[in-house]
C-alpha cells in the first residue's frame, strides 16, 4: 500500500511494549509510529474517523498534545487530525517501525 507517511525507527523507551490488544492511540508516545488495528467505537464519531481515513492498516503517529494534554494531534494519511483522548482510546493500534 502506498503510504504518504514514512518513518524513522524512532528509539522507543526500553520498556516491554504493551500487548498489542491493549495499546490505543491515546497511549502511544509522542512521535511513535503505529498502525491502526481496529476502530472499536460505535456511531457517528467512529464512522467519521473512519471516513477520514483512520481505518485498520492505516499508519498513524501522535504528533503533539495540546497545552492541557488533550486533545492530541495525530498524523494519518499525510494530514493532521486533532481528536480527544476519549476518542483516541477507542482506536487500537500496534507499534510499527515500518
Amino acid at each position: 500500500m502506498a503510504t504518504l507517511e514514512n518513518t524513522l525507527a524512532i528509539p522507543r523507551a526500553s520498556l516491554e511494549p504493551l500487548p498489542a490488544s491493549d495499546l490505543s492511540l491515546a497511549g502511544l508516545s509522542l512521535g511513535a509510529q503505529a498502525r491502526v488495528i481496529a476502530v472499536k467505537g460505535q456511531g457517528a464519531i467512529a464512522r467519521r474517523l473512519m471516513e477520514m481515513g483512520v481505518v485498520p492498516g492505516a499508519p498513524v503517529r501522535v504528533i503533539k498534545r495540546a497545552p492541557l494534554g488533550d486533545p492530541i494531534e495525530v498524523r494519518v494519511r499525510g494530514y493532521h487530525l486533532a481528536l480527544r483522548r476519549t476518542e483516541a482510546q477507542t482506536i487500537s493500534v500496534t507499534a510499527s517501525d515500518e
Binding site: 504518504l4 524513522l8 495540546a66 497545552p67 488533550d70
Partner: protein, 739 residues
C-alpha cells in the same frame, strides 16, 4: 455542450428552452481545505450570490462561470465542504440533495467537479468514490500540485485518471493555471456518459443483501440508494422496506459485528490499490513547513500566549487603522447633512431627511471601515489555517464547560456577527451541544457592538496610553470582549449542567496545512459581509431611523399644538415663525436640539424613555439613553443613530466641531451636570456586552431551534444578566468613588 443541450422538463419553462439553451449546471464538491473556495472564486470572479437552501440555513453559494467563449455561462454551485456524503449532518444531506437534483429550482448537475487536494490524496479520494456511485459525469480538479511536488509526492495523473475512470485536470487557482483545461474537460464530460461507478465491492454476503434490496425496491432504484439505506442512519419511509433493511442488518451483524464498517473499508482498500500504482513518495523525513510552524504556534507554552497576542493585535489594529476612514465618512455625512439642511426650506421634510435619514444612516455607516477590517482579519485567520489551531488549543477549556472544540469557530465568527456564528453551529452534531453554543453565541461582542464601544471610548477615554503604546481604548475593548467570553463560559457551564445536560461531545478536527491566504477569497468575504451590512443599513436601519425620528417628533409639543389650534394655517405659520426667530441657527427643528429637549420629552419616544427611566436610573442612564436603549433592542448599532437623532447631530453645519462624540460629551441633565460620565459610559458598554439586542439574531435562533421557546428564553436571561452586570458596574463604581 450548452448550446446543444436539451432542456429536460424540470427547470426552465418550455418557451425559454426552445429559444435559449438551459445553462449547464455544475456542482463543485470537495473536502474542507481542499482549495474549493479558491477555485470557485477563480472560476466565477466575483459573479456570485450567497443565499440559503430553502428551509435550512446551509449557505448556498452560486456563481456564473463563462465556461465557453460566446456560450451561455454555466451555473456553478459551490457545495459545502464535505468529508463524506453518508453521515447525517445537514451539510451532507444538502450536498446529496444537490447531486441527486432534489433541490427545488435546481436541476441535477450536468457535471460534478470534485476538488481533490494532491497532498492529501487518499482522504480526498474517499469523497470521490462516493460521488462516483451517484452516476453523474465527474471531473477531478487536482489542487496543490506544486505543494505535493515540494513534498516529493509524485502523482502519475494519467494512471490515476485511468484507474478512477475520471478526467483529472491539475489546477493552480491563484495563478489561474489549468482553468481553461478544466472548462474543456467539463464541457466534454457534460456530453459524455456518466463516469464508472467505481471499482470497489463488499463481501459476498453484503453484496447479496444489496442485490436483494435493489430487487425489492418498487422504484427499482440504484445501488447507491441501497447502500445508503443499508449503511446509514437514515432509514427509508416505506415500512416494509425498513423491515427488510433491519433484517438484512441483523444477518450481516451475525457474521461480522463490525458490519457497518464494510463500505468504508472497501472504499479505502480500492483507493489504496489505486494510489499504490499511481503515487510515489520518496523517503524524505524532513518536517513540513506546517509542522515547523506548529512547533511554535501550538506549543504548549507559547501557543496560548500567541493566541492572546494575535487577538490583541487584531483589535488594536482595527482601532488604529479604522480611524482615518471613519473620520472621513463622519465628516462627509456631516457636510451632506449641512448641505441638505441649507438647500431645503425648513419644515418636516427637511427634518426627516437631515435628522432622520442622514444622521441615522450616517451614524451607522461610519463603522463600515471597522467591519471591513474585522472580516479582513477573520478571513485571514480562517484562510491561513490558524482558526483550527485556535480550536485545538482551546478545546480542553471549552470541554471543561461542556462545549465542543468545534464550538470555538462558530463563537469566533460570532465576534463578527452572531448570525453567521449561529448558522455555523450546524457543524456540531449533537443537538444539545449545538443549543448550548447557540445560547451563548450572542455574548461574543459582534461588530454591531463596536460602534457603541467606539463611541463611548472616543468620547470618554480618548487618546490615553498605557506603557506608551497600548491605548486604554484598545484595552477597554479587549476587556469588553473578555467580559462577554467569561459570562458565556459561565452560562454554558450552567446550561450544560441543567437544562442541556448531555455527555461531553467528541472532537474530530482537521488541522489543515498553513497556507498563504488568497487575496480573492479574502476580498470576496470582506465585501459580501460589507454588502450585508450596507443592506441592513439601507433597509432595517433606515426604517428604524425614520420610525425613531417620527416617534421623537410626534406628538408635537404643547406650545406647537396650541399654535396649531389657534391659527388655521397652523403648520406653515408655525414653522415659518420658528425659522424667523432663529435665522442663524438651523438647530431649532421641532423636537430635537438641546434647547428643544422639551419637545423630545413630550414625544412618544420621550414618554417611553421617561417610562423606563426609574428602571434604568440605577444603571446610571437617563431617559434619553432609555430612548436609545429601546431602539437598540431592534439592532444594537441603531443606538448610535438614535443618539445622533436625539442629540441632533446631522443637523449641524459644522460637523467637525460638533460630531456625535462632542454632543455626547456635552449632553446635560436637567440639573446641569453632565448626563454622561466615564462611569456611565462603562456601564452602558457592559450592558451592551450582555443584553440581547438584535432582532435578526432572535429570528435566526427561532429558525434554528424551530420554536419560540429558546429565543424568548435567550432575550430574557441575557437582558437580566445585562441589567445585573450594569447595575454592579455603576453602583460599584460609585461606591469606589467614581462619579
Amino acid at each position: 455542450m450548452s448550446s446543444t443541450l436539451e432542456s429536460p422538463a424540470l427547470a426552465s419553462p418550455p418557451s425559454a428552452a426552445s429559444t435559449v439553451a438551459r445553462p449547464l449546471v455544475i456542482a463543485l464538491a470537495g473536502n474542507p481545505n481542499a482549495g474549493k473556495t479558491t477555485l470557485f472564486n477563480a472560476l466565477t470572479g466575483l459573479r456570485q450570490k450567497v443565499a440559503n437552501y430553502p428551509g435550512v440555513t446551509v449557505e448556498r453559494k452560486e456563481g456564473t462561470w463563462s465556461i465557453k467563449h460566446g456560450a451561455t455561462p454555466a451555473r456553478l454551485i459551490d457545495l459545502p465542504g464535505l468529508y463524506s456524503l453518508d453521515a447525517a449532518s445537514i451539510d451532507e444531506q444538502i450536498a446529496r440533495d444537490v447531486v441527486t437534483g432534489r433541490i427545488p429550482n435546481l436541476p441535477a448537475p450536468d457535471v460534478i467537479v470534485a476538488v481533490v487536494d494532491a497532498t492529501n490524496l487518499e482522504r480526498n479520494l474517499y469523497l470521490v468514490t462516493q460521488l462516483l456511485e451517484y452516476g453523474r459525469p465527474l471531473v477531478i480538479a487536482l489542487t496543490m500540485v506544486d505543494l505535493a511536488r515540494k513534498r516529493d509526492l509524485e502523482i502519475d495523473e494519467q494512471r490515476l485518471s485511468e484507474a478512477l475512470g475520471v478526467t483529472i485536470v491539475p489546477v493552480t487557482s491563484a495563478q489561474r493555471l489549468g482553468l481553461d483545461a478544466l472548462a474543456a474537460a467539463v464541457l466534454k464530460a457534460a456530453e459524455s456518459e456518466a463516469a464508472s461507478a467505481g471499482g470497489w465491492c463488499l463481501s459476498e454476503l453484503a453484496e447479496r443483501e444489496i442485490a436483494t434490496l435493489i430487487g425489492k425496491d418498487v422504484d427499482s432504484l440504484s445501488r447507491h440508494r441501497a447502500l445508503r439505506d443499508l449503511y446509514t442512519d437514515e432509514l427509508p419511509e416505506n415500512e416494509w422496506r425498513r423491515d427488510a433493511i433491519r433484517l438484512a442488518r441483523e444477518r450481516l451483524a451475525q457474521s461480522n459485528p463490525d458490519w457497518w464498517q464494510e463500505p468504508v473499508l472497501a472504499r479505502y482498500d480500492w483507493i489504496e490499490k489505486i494510489t499504490s500504482k499511481s503515487v510515489k513518495s520518496s523517503l524524505s523525513q524532513s518536517l513540513t513547513t506546517t509542522e515547523r510552524i506548529d512547533r511554535i504556534l501550538t506549543h504548549r507554552f507559547f501557543g496560548p500566549l500567541i493566541l492572546i497576542a494575535v487577538l490583541l493585535l487584531v483589535f488594536q489594529t482595527i482601532f488604529s487603522w479604522a480611524n482615518l476612514p471613519m473620520d472621513l465618512i463622519d465628516k462627509g455625512f456631516g457636510r451632506l447633512g449641512g448641505a441638505v439642511g441649507s438647500l431645503m426650506s425648513p419644515g418636516l421634510l427637511r427634518d426627516l431627511l437631515v435628522d432622520g435619514v442622514i444622521a441615522g444612516v450616517g451614524g451607522v455607516l461610519v463603522f463600515l471601515p471597522q467591519i471591513l477590517l474585522l472580516f479582513f482579519f477573520i478571513s485571514i485567520l480562517e484562510d491561513t489555517g490558524y482558526m483550527a489551531r485556535a480550536a485545538f488549543l482551546m478545546d480542553r477549556l471549552m470541554r471543561s464547560v461542556g462545549l465542543h472544540g468545534k464550538a470555538f469557530m462558530p463563537l469566533m465568527s460570532s465576534f463578527a456577527c452572531a448570525i453567521p456564528g449561529i448558522m455555523a453551529t450546524r457543524t456540531i452534531e449533537n443537538p444539545k451541544d449545538r443549543l448550548a453554543t447557540i445560547m451563548i453565541a450572542p455574548f461574543m461582542s459582534c461588530s454591531a457592538r463596536l460602534p457603541v464601544y467606539t463611541l463611548m471610548i472616543a468620547a470618554f477615554f480618548p487618546g490615553r496610553k498605557l506603557f506608551g503604546f497600548l491605548s486604554v481604548g484598545a484595552l477597554l475593548i479587549m476587556a469588553m470582549y473578555l467580559l462577554g467570553i467569561i459570562v458565556a463560559i459561565g452560562v454554558a457551564w450552567v446550561l450544560k449542567r441543567t437544562i442541556l445536560k448531555a455527555p461531553t461531545p467528541p472532537l474530530v478536527l482537521e488541522l489543515p496545512p498553513y497556507r498563504v491566504p488568497n487575496v480573492l477569497t479574502i476580498l470576496q468575504m470582506m465585501f459580501s459581509r460589507a454588502w450585508l451590512f450596507l443592506k441592513r443599513a439601507g433597509t432595517v436601519i433606515l426604517a428604524i431611523s425614520i420610525i425613531l425620528w417620527a416617534l421623537a417628533t410626534f406628538p408635537r409639543s404643547p406650545q406647537t399644538k396650541t399654535a396649531n389650534s389657534e391659527t388655521t394655517v397652523a403648520q406653515t405659520t408655525d414653522d415659518g415663525g420658528e425659522t424667523e426667530s432663529s435665522e442663524a441657527e438651523v438647530k431649532t427643528a421641532p423636537g430635537f436640539a438641546g434647547q428643544s429637549s422639551e419637545h423630545l420629552s413630550q414625544s412618544f419616544a420621550g414618554r417611553a424613555g421617561h417610562l423606563i427611566e426609574p428602571i434604568i436610573k440605577p444603571l446610571g442612564f437617563d431617559w434619553k439613553m432609555g430612548v436609545a436603549l429601546i431602539s437598540s433592542f431592534a439592532a444594537r448599532e441603531t443606538m448610535v443613530s438614535t443618539l445622533s437623532i436625539i442629540y441632533n447631530v446631522g443637523h449641524d453645519k459644522d460637523s467637525s466641531s460638533n460630531s456625535l462624540i462632542n454632543a455626547v460629551r456635552e449632553a446635560k441633565k436637567p440639573d446641569g451636570t453632565p448626563a454622561w460620565t466615564p462611569l456611565v459610559a462603562l456601564s452602558m458598554m457592559v450592558f451592551f456586552v450582555l443584553a440581547m439586542q438584535c432582532m435578526s439574531t432572535v429570528a435566526i435562533v427561532r429558525r434554528e431551534t424551530n420554536s419560540w421557546r429558546w429565543p424568548l428564553f435567550m432575550i430574557a436571561y441575557m437582558t437580566v444578566l445585562a441589567y445585573i452586570a450594569s447595575f454592579i458596574t455603576y453602583q460599584g463604581g460609585r461606591l469606589l468613588g467614581f462619579s
